[in-house]
Symmetry: C2
Subunit: 173 residues, 2 copies
């Protein structure tokens, strides 16, 4: 590997998680191993879960956390789950087993101060030269974007949910 | 299906094709059929090609065109290939066989005037209420975005190739 990249996909627009899934599958297509950690648990992700199962020889998939938001009433439990998730991520990154580690929807943990940003960044900066890491989610902190090699912002130009069309199978979930 | 969506992913940033791939796999994860037509041929797409093979029961994959650009020296041949590709796309959309039809990198054909934009838009507007269609590529024409239900722009905030890091397996291709 020429250089491990720290990549961030952020913004309000569609395509962050689907892009992470696509990159994971592209990597697996090369026969390279991926660790995909999803930080927001939600039963609606049936499509991805079934799709990724066909790659269980190459993609290790983990779901952390417990719901759609990290801004719940039980902040202590959220913080505990956030630390648990981050610890899983660190283990995957340090293991050297993976070509790519995806931390899907991870930015929320930083945005809601569930983790200490400086310590996370220090860890990522130390390990990313040997490891590709892709972080997705809205509200990526400026310091994370500053530390990253690649940052894409998914901008909403138009969104059907805003014009009253409901979320649809295969497209939104 | 509540309503077929015409979706566009455009912009200079990374994540358009990977997101289309992710959406195709998510759809296949639901057991729904996808037709994925790639309008720029290139042997570098080994990762995607291998990945998508695992879904050949649900995803029909076609490569049209002949290279990285539609702005070649042989404009007549390009235009012929563009018409051939569009004809394949129309057939897939009209067939009713697919939950989602992806026209990957299709915007270039419109941008370089290889096809007649008004006729394409008329066809898409007529058929999209019964069919999800996702179009990707830079330089999406304004009229296409105006006709679409969903438009995401992938914006480059930072790109490693600009700082001299070369394209890497699994990440860029």
């Amino acid at each position: 590997m020429a250089k491990g990249l720290l990549m961030v996909m952020t913004g309000e627009g569609k395509g962050k998680t689907t892009s992470a899934l696509g990159m994971a599958l592209r990597t697996a297509g090369h026969g390279l191993r991926v660790c995909f950690i999803q930080f927001i648990k939600g039963s609606w992700r049936y499509g991805e879960l079934e799709a990724i199962k066909r790659f269980d020889d190459l993609i290790d998939f983990h779901v952390m956390g417990r719901g759609f938001t990290w801004k719940s009433e039980n902040l202590e439990e959220d913080a505990r789950l956030a630390r648990e998730g981050w610890s899983k991520a660190c283990g995957a990154i340090e293991s050297g087993r993976y070509h790519l580690v995806v931390l899907d929807e991870f930015t929320y943990l930083l945005h809601y101060n569930m983790l200490e940003l400086p310590a996370c960044l220090e860890f990522l900066k130390e390990h990313c030269p040997q490891q590709h890491v892709l972080i997705t989610g809205r509200y990526a902190p400026d310091a994370l974007m500053a530390a990253a090699d690649l940052v894409t912002e998914m901008r909403v130009i138009k969104h059907p949910l805003k014009s009253g069309v409901k979320a649809q199978k295969g497209i939104e979930f």
